[in-house]
Subunit: 432 residues, 2 copies
Amino acid sequence: MRKKHVGFLKLENVDKAREKLLQRAKLNLRVEIVHLNNALGRVVAEDIYALRDYPPEDRAAVDGVAVRSEDVVGASQSNPIRLEIVGVVEAGDVISGKSLSIDVNQAAIVYTGAQLPQNSDAVIPFEEALIEGNYVYVFKQVEKFKNVSRKGEDFREGELLISKGTLIRPWHIAALVESGYKEVKVFEKPKVCVINVGDELYEFADEASNKSGIPNSTGPLITAYVSELGCEPVYLGIVPDDEVAIKDIVEKALRKCDVVVVTGGTSVGGKDLVPDVLSKFNGAELIFHGVNLRPGRTAGAFLIDGKPVLMLSGLPVAAFVGLENFLKPLIENRLNMRKLPESVIEGKLTRRLANVVGFKSYFRVVVYEDNGQVYITPLRLTGSGILSTLLKGNAVLVIDENVEGYEEGSYVKVKLLNPIYEGRPEFLQNSL
Amino acid sequence: MRKKHVGFLKLENVDKAREKLLQRAKLNLRVEIVHLNNALGRVVAEDIYALRDYPPEDRAAVDGVAVRSEDVVGASQSNPIRLEIVGVVEAGDVISGKSLSIDVNQAAIVYTGAQLPQNSDAVIPFEEALIEGNYVYVFKQVEKFKNVSRKGEDFREGELLISKGTLIRPWHIAALVESGYKEVKVFEKPKVCVINVGDELYEFADEASNKSGIPNSTGPLITAYVSELGCEPVYLGIVPDDEVAIKDIVEKALRKCDVVVVTGGTSVGGKDLVPDVLSKFNGAELIFHGVNLRPGRTAGAFLIDGKPVLMLSGLPVAAFVGLENFLKPLIENRLNMRKLPESVIEGKLTRRLANVVGFKSYFRVVVYEDNGQVYITPLRLTGSGILSTLLKGNAVLVIDENVEGYEEGSYVKVKLLNPIYEGRPEFLQNSL
């Protein structure tokens, strides 16, 4: 008979556990230079300052006539002022130092984005002027710098453009182009090794119809999650419940990766092999094992010479909750990322929801809109393996350990994972 | 002298313009089969039904002792019932048809995920039982199916698992694995050609210090946007303001791509070349040109034999607003995608904001949190080229054309693009 399942003597507070992990884990960050064409979705590794003013010169902000504002003081419908047109400037036409110049009572046609002719200081839109041959009649006086994009008004040389830790979106790339960059220094994607322990597991790609056991769904879930997080997943595969096999693969993972995620073999099936194996590594330090998280109480973390090894449940939903609570904060913290906005929505609970005392719980819920009102229905199945709750369910309601639950009809905020349903989905009608 | 800028006789309502585009554009969708390991971020091309029940059999939901519930009716602390342990089952241990069986007054040790032995119908957790040698003492009666994951409780064979149009996230991959899939049918990424028209433009990668003109920042912005949208950008480069050159590149784009985006050459610089060229194609149909959108009023669209050609401003922010209003809805509509949750936040306006009458306006705003209160400060610069508004600004406040504006102190909802600031950012202190 195998040893009896012992369970955790004491579950640690999940927030404190995370805090310890963030304080003590070492993440070996490397940087690399990438061309702007390959920069989308990467994380900036240093504060970036503009290399030049933008616009680099005063420019026309509309199509019209560039004038010296002092020349048209007092212009009106009854007293139009006539200026001589001495040229046309389009965007990109002129090089600094060789630009067109206007003199007293002169003007120039300019198109949006064109460098303002020397001595001109305002632009009158075509709609407000009358052009006859080489002359323009102005009917209204104009303020200095009216319809002018001033040199440096978008950003100035030396101005902080993008902060370290910024996730690069399309507009960041455009701004880097305008400010004179061709490349950008980003963090290399942290490498996250994924190991799934369990005699019962097989690779889904190897599935044959007569195969016994359980297809490894948690491995693909974690590698996909790691990719979405902007890291590089290194899937090391399935390992049997065998101390030597686990030790060998963890050694390999520690050589290859910055973070190691091991699922299974922690407190399932009575075989606590993974913590035993990890604790025997040189430089191993247990940070926590067992947290007040539902699902996901079996989560734990070791540091091995400072490198984080996360132990998560082999059940997919519990593993997902573990990633949300430990891997994501670790990566965001180390890359200095400001917390990205999550998609949060408030709605009305359609039934009472009770928390398990002392646990931080992740309830999967269904969010739907009906006649302009947002409703939130908790799903009844809550097992750590029940994946359909993340398919039908489209949001997660996190309840802190000091909250007993929420009454029917109360308003709660949930984190959206999938699109909102329009109208009450049919599967709820059936099940409730 | 060039022809006078005419402007648009009439600006079309942007929502009606979009509606016409969605109704009439043809998007040639192709599907492909991808391995689940490559499915992340792709869009499902058909409704997907589970190929099997999951779990495929009744399973233990906890570590404990599998029993026949009828055997322990009446069990209590004062009247423990003793059962004989006849075996141990772990997850993945048994193959259908060869599973362990228990008889009257027998039990089996089971670990989470294990197939339930034949004839057993409930699991008593280790904590609630006492094991001595080959016997277990049960102190409490147990309901049928207590601590059992029922066959098919996650999903049933033939059940709709994932709807057509779903963007594949990590949990979808895991569910596909469990339900028996190795591959999935997804839409091929629509190809979107990007063409930037303008004599003044040069490729940023070719920049030399003595270069005149304007670096093409809108091209990289659009290609990055197209990538984020899940499409395949095909950057065809910069084209001069020349009818033949434009015609040639659009012909190439129509052969290569499903959607064509052309910037510039629409109403800037007095050279309305692009609409002229497009209108001369066989099968050309103008859908709209000129909309009540700020920035982005010069946006337009042709269909050429049904294939959409979007004309957008060459200025980056105006182009971005055009993509949000036309390209994104077109792709989401054609791929049957449910609208993904956007990250929306409500906050208190720190100053009055006036809309321009009749326009749907995109104001760039700064969202920050201070003492638990969310504040929203509109940026003062609003030009269609002012990129820094998308760097410092972290959200967009869209005001519909029938709304005059909002008073200081009112609460408004904005769409977040970048993370929220903690505390009022310094650049606001300086500028206001």
